[in-house]
Symmetry: C2
Amino acid sequence: MLNAVERKIEQYIISLEHPEILALYRKLPAGKRLRAKLILYIAGNNISSIMLASIVEMIHAASLLHDDVIDDALTRRNKPSLNAIYGNKLAIMLGDVLYSKGFNELSKLDAKIAQIVSDAVIKLSIGELDDVGMSKTFNTDKEQYIKMIYGKTASLIEASACSAALLAGKSQEKYRIYGKNLGLAFQMIDDLLDVTSDSQTLGKPALHDFEEGKTTLPYIYLYDALSDQEKERLRSLHGKILSKIDSAWVQEQMKAHNIPQKCYAQAALLIEEAITLMQTEGETKLLSIAKEMIDRKF
Amino acid sequence: MLNAVERKIEQYIISLEHPEILALYRKLPAGKRLRAKLILYIAGNNISSIMLASIVEMIHAASLLHDDVIDDALTRRNKPSLNAIYGNKLAIMLGDVLYSKGFNELSKLDAKIAQIVSDAVIKLSIGELDDVGMSKTFNTDKEQYIKMIYGKTASLIEASACSAALLAGKSQEKYRIYGKNLGLAFQMIDDLLDVTSDSQTLGKPALHDFEEGKTTLPYIYLYDALSDQEKERLRSLHGKILSKIDSAWVQEQMKAHNIPQKCYAQAALLIEEAITLMQTEGETKLLSIAKEMIDRKF
């Protein structure tokens, strides 16, 4: 089923009649195609759902291209990122091409679907801005963190599920919440992996987020659990390259205060709600996706 | 009339409920609002045309933000560019916010209008990519130059005129050609000014385009007129910072071969066609805009 999406995206790119863009697009890693999967599972294997899935994946690819420039990311899915190989400018421009093609094809679909998806892209781009803005200070506000990851990550997954439900004539609200919770849990687990995984598994240094100034959920929980003196120490390390001693201290404190378990429990709560919703709808494939999400190694 | 557009854009930005984005948006120079003017003159002063004009100007502002990052431009309309003050990353992100809000509002308009405008944004983003790609070699192909400036500059002006004509129930084709020619002539004159103006008037060094590797129309015409030996000299200077001697030589050759006149004549030809089309439609304001365009100081 996903093959049809890959072919459709290629068709969209080929229709631009620009060999350089096609060659660059083919260099991008396809990824898990989570958003496409959701759309196909919800709205079935038909031309409308394949088009919607392809458009959303083009928009997602565009957002990743810009995200990697903004985060100075040199790798994406354990391979060198496009900006690392061809420079930031080309990554920005290819992102703009994919965004504009995505929006153009989106405007050929049902107006309500175009609304849902383009609404999500606004949230996504604001979430990106908030992610960078928040990394300038030590954020201890969980609500603010949730709001930011909702925009940055969950909004397009939510829109995928919700627009697919609309396409299939299913209950939009249930699928919307399913997608939103899936997206939030995905980002929470991703942020947790940065703390619990070794750098080889991650393909980037562990605790990289914190060094970049990002106080993700584990740090918010940890800060809450520490003594005043320890709080000061954690604050003093924010946004800096960590020495081995400091790095070990952060990881010890995370373990000592059961932070991974707390983060995991928070993600699991969201996933449970998502699962319950899909059980009432008899959506076994969507159930599996949700279950697999919290079974990621952490 | 343009005030209504400024207010509408502000409304769109305010609806994002993000004070930082509003503050950044307010720092952007409004510019001439050429695209908005065309839309209002063609489709009249009503809510639909004000919405369309505001959306197109948001998209245009987004493209300029990314353009300045890609061109390493430190000034925009004689003021420091946003990327120069706040960095490239913020300019990319604000551009993405304006693009996505623009597309989102566009998807609420008539589907045909959304098609015309979003088609133009694809051309615009590909034109941007071609502009950068072409600057790596000494381009002597006028057709390729025209194709690139059509994408980069004329496509959105063409789409503005064409979509406004659709909105007003006027002849789309005539207005489309008017907009296209206006856009092409605008870019040709702009490229000519880089050769003929002094750096103070330009707000950037003269011959900057050529130093950046851009062989715009004056260079294509000049190359054509030079002897083989002189051709070699011009080629050898491409994409380099010019010494005073080389810079003076280029400008002398431009004068000696009447290059400004040739470029001007080419732009004037396009403008004349645009004027003729608007005369048959009795569009006096559009006539004036076209006339003013080739009266720019050069």
